[in-house]
């Protein structure tokens, strides 16, 4: 009996563990191994270069330094701009959706609908809408007397406005639905109690809604940061990295280097650096949320 008990949990875990090992652990380790080589999978020779690929990424005189850090910076810019908006806007939308009013379901659908589209559809659609010279957006802006010649896809910072804006339009529905689920879990008595205590709408939001949403907010923050840091499709399709390589994100760089240029070693090293940066960021986010909780307790 005892021995049976010992292996029972493992038996239940085995299917997942097998998949996890095959599709996560093994590729991660292989990636680490690849990053130590000059790895072109089409060639028989894959010379071991030690930390050479990493050294190149940190050596300003190497060919890979500028494109890689430029891509990391692009990822940083996008994440810093997109994440706060992807928290605030969906929360606002969720608050409205949580009210009882006529046409609420239609409203919910309208906000969630773009999320079901693939990035290729969204990207192509907006690429043509935002085209500087033949796009509808500039034509409309011109028609109402505003400047109709903004290069939405080929100048910065306009390209960042486009990329962030389109991403918000596309994905806010997902975050809003999570927030909405969180809002619906907030016990009604808390609001009643707050009301009795004389709290206004803002007070109720600050002291009841926000604290109750903390776990949900933390989840949404983490997921959004990781999704934003992995942004690729939007700039690949809409701006093609232009102007120059300014909107080429880290994932874009990694995909291009590894899959198109066959420099798997360099791409693997780059993705390890990106991974470490993201892990560090996750720790910071956890710390931020935990500290607040402690302060309140």
């Amino acid at each position: 009996m005892a021995s049976r008990r010992a292996w029972t949990p493992w038996a239940f875990l085995a299917p997942y563990l097998a998949l996890f090992t095959a599709f996560v652990i093994a590729p991660v380790l292989l990636g680490l191994w690849i990053s130590l080589h000059d790895w072109d999978f089409t060639l028989p020779g894959k010379p071991f270069v030690g930390l050479g690929n990493y050294a190149d990424l940190f050596d300003p005189s190497s060919v890979t330094f500028a494109p890689f850090w430029n891509a990391m910076r692009a990822t940083g810019i996008f994440t810093v701009c997109a994440v706060p908006l992807l928290l605030v806007v969906p929360l606002a939308v969720a608050l409205v959706m949580n009210q009882g009013f006529r046409g609420r379901n239609a409203f919910r659908t309208i906000f969630f609908a773009p999320y079901v589209l693939g990035v290729a559809v969204v990207g192509l659609l907006w690429r043509f809408l935002l085209d500087a010279n033949i796009g509808v957006v500039n034509a409309l802006l011109g028609a109402i007397g505003l400047s109709g010649d903004t290069a939405w896809l080929s100048s910065v910072p306009a390209a960042w406005v486009s990329l962030v804006g389109v991403t918000i339009w596309w994905t806010l529905g997902f975050n809003a639905v999570i927030f909405l689920a969180g809002l619906q879990d907030v016990p009604g008595e808390l609001y009643e109690a707050a009301r009795v205590d004389g709290a206004g709408a803002w007070g109720r939001f600050r002291h009841v809604t926000l604290p109750s949403l903390r776990p949900v907010t933390m989840f949404v923050t983490m997921v959004t940061i990781i999704a934003s840091a992995n942004m690729f499709g939007q700039s690949f399709i809409m701006t093609k990295g232009a102007p120059g390589q300014e909107t080429r994100t880290a994932i874009y760089y990694i995909a291009e280097t590894g899959l198109q240029n066959f420099q798997m070693g360099s791409a693997a090293a780059g993705s390890w650096i990106l991974t470490l940066a993201l892990m560090l960021l996750s720790v910071v986010v956890f710390a931020v949320f935990r500290e607040r909780k402690g302060a309140r307790a």
């Binding site: 999978f41 290069a151 232009a242 198109q260």
Partner: protein, 448 residues
Amino acid sequence: MNPTLGHQSLPSPMSRRGFLTLGAVGTLGLLAGCGGGKGVGDTGAQGVGGFTGGAYKGPDLDLAYWNGFTGGDGPAMTALVKKFNASEDKITIKPNTIEWADFYQRLPAATKAGKGPDVGAMHLDQLASNAARKVIVPLDDLADSLGLAESDFTGAVWGPGIYQGKRYGIPLDVHCLAMYYNQDHFDKAGITEAPTDAASFDAACQKLQKAGFETPFWVPNKWPAHLMFLSLLWQNGGAPYAEDGSAATYDDEAGVKGLTWMVDQIKKGYSPTNVDADAQYLAFKNGKTSITWDGIWQINDLDASGLNWAMAPLPTIGDQPASWANSHHFFLTELAAKDTNRANASKSFIGWMSKQSAAWSKAGMIPARNSAREEAAFTDSKQYVLKDYLENLHFLPPVPGLGDVQPQTLEVAVNEAVLQKTSVDAALSKSAANATKLMEANLKKFGA
């Protein structure tokens, strides 16, 4: 829907003097190779399967045929495959059409994984890379048995099909940039002849502006901007890359002149600023601009659009006529080469296709075979106006890995300069320096 999308990743580009040299070197290499030496791959002798040019006599089989003809050229290829399948009872061709950008990523991966095609078509400037990666195998025996020689083809497409002394591709066509113009706009502006040089081009743009076409010539910042730049570089007597693959040389005076001219078209107001991807072509199709430089494969799409258009060779903006060009070549993969029957069946298919070069004119291309360019299919085609321009076409040198280097360097430089983010000099010299470093690394990697 947008045919230009299918072509954005046509890997690009190359120089004519270099070409002639290569042709000569290649021919010598071919002669030397006739002794039946070892192929580059592990697959042994050149001419796997001992193909002798006769009909395929083995068991019935299906051949996987990959290509990237997704644009106006697609229907013409589908028709040819149908015709082949109808004419041949032992071989069935199963075509798989993939956008060129994905094609060049997937082909090596699929072939190395044992899932690739038997036979396919790729661009001339990708042959060396794929030969060096041992994705494709030599076809000298096919060329010999079909009796193909350099003299059968338009000059520059034969030589670069040879890598390290062995032939890897059988040419199908030649395609280049040409100048398209809106006939109605030209009539309204009183322009009777297509511009042929810098002065007449400038005069035409001014006349068009006077006739109310404010921005007659849009200069794109993405595809095909780098092909325009390469054409202008050659027109000014430059060459983009050293023939031995050791350096990028497009940042010289010729390159600066060429790119400066492109930027000047924007400064003069002939082109709007920030012309985004595909916008210049869509604008041309919709009559918003009067002149555009694009690939001749757009012919079918423009015909379908109902626009009243005409085509002419690129005007000679520099000192000599020149245009970027590329060519589709048939190849045999290492996978097919491992099986004598598959190899022979594939070669029969390639041999048959190579004779259809004239019918392929329907795709908007120029047949690579000299004899095919005398057939009605070509002489009646729109691209026939380019018949005397063939000797001015330039191709990229057959350097492995060049197709990967160019998008990261030259294309970025052209983009930055056209968007006027960086000066022409600075953009070209920085990118050429990086390209040289990447090319040096490639030389080492491919052991050339």
